[in-house]
Amino acid sequence: MRMVPATLGIATVPLAYLTLRGLDCRATTSLLASLFIIFENALITQSRHILLDSPLVFFTALTVFLWTGFCNEDKHEPFSDAWWGWLTLTGLSLGAVVSSKWVGLFTIATVGLGTIRQLWTLLGDLRVTPRLWIRHFLARALCLITVPILFYMAMFQIHFLILENSGEGDGFMSAEFQHTLGGRGMADTYAGAFQ
């Protein structure tokens, strides 16, 4: 079980390197940042325990990496296959971040602010027609709002499919939900007639 957070902690290192390279930093700068991440005590400790923080950090790093790639591609050639690929993967990664922990909503907010800035810049660009601007807006709305929501809901669907039986964590759920679980030990109660 410890291998999962450890592996994610390892994978964060090359992501940091590639992100900085994508931001046009020099190789030495990227190398230094990667070394900092490798030997950062808190991240090492996090990677050694079975916690949700390690997936959170990894998917946050992955989102920043993919978003950087998308921003580069957006300035290079919008609506190309690579552009759509970076954007869709960013949306999927955002869904993974928020599925790991709700703190990941801050990552969504960060990407959202970047998107608003991009759209604002496009709005002031006289070469961009209103029709093209709407295409930009819809593409981002589809990939950065709809895709993460679908990913998040799909994760719950997988949970419901796998974890269909009653367990120790039932107490956190509502009585209605507990009644849907197999092997429940909860007695039926009468619904209140006068409420």
Partner: protein, 184 residues
């Protein structure tokens, strides 16, 4: 007497043939000269940048891929070191248990302080000239079981305990003729 506006002008650049065929300091790859920098800046680009943004995709050289592989190997070594024992660490400094004994004919006093070196020096007898002094340093990792203690001790812990031992030697040697230390 000059009449009209007088403007200072930049002298024209010398013809290309003026330059030596082999420049004394050949320009580095990607280097922009002053004119190119000014042209780039007028387009709103960053300093030393020919374009406003990085090109799409990632163009890493084979050497960089090898560097990335080395980084992953180092990261794996750091993250997976004794992964089954999460309390063990790669390069942490273990705390040290100090045990110092001051012996005299009429009294014997043992200090066992796991805190700081200063507290040991502060709580030692004032006049140690007639004491036999001996001490023990034990590098100690608090979360390890006693069986695993030797394997939990890092290199830094050993080095620091040796340094502390020499410091105690210097401190007490001038005061007492009978000084003995032990590093375990």
């Amino acid at each position: 007497m000059l009449s009209g506006a007088v403007r200072s002008r930049r002298p024209p650049s010398p013809p290309p043939s003026y330059h030596q065929s082999v420049p004394r300091f050949p320009p580095k790859e990607g280097h922009l000269d002053a004119d190119e920098r000014r042209a780039a800046a007028s387009l709103g680009y960053g300093p030393s940048r020919k374009s406003a943004h990085a090109p799409g995709g990632y163009n890493l050289t084979p050497g960089e891929w090898k560097l990335l592989l080395v980084l992953v190997v180092i990261a794996s070594a750091v993250r997976l070191f004794r992964i089954s024992k999460p309390d063990s660490v790669v390069y942490a400094i273990p705390s040290l248990l100090y045990q110092i004994t001051f012996r005299r004919a009429d009294q014997s006093r043992t200090l066992k302080i796991p805190d700081s070196t200063k507290s040991i020096l502060a709580s030692s007898p004032r006049d140690t000239s007639r004491h036999d002094i001996s001490w023990t340093f034990t590098p100690h990792w608090p979360n390890c079981s006693s069986r695993l203690q030797p394997s939990c001790q890092g290199l830094m812990g050993t080095l620091i305990s040796r340094r502390l031992q020499s410091m105690f030697l210097r401190h007490f040697k001038s005061k007492s003729p009978h000084v003995a230390g032990d590093l375990s």
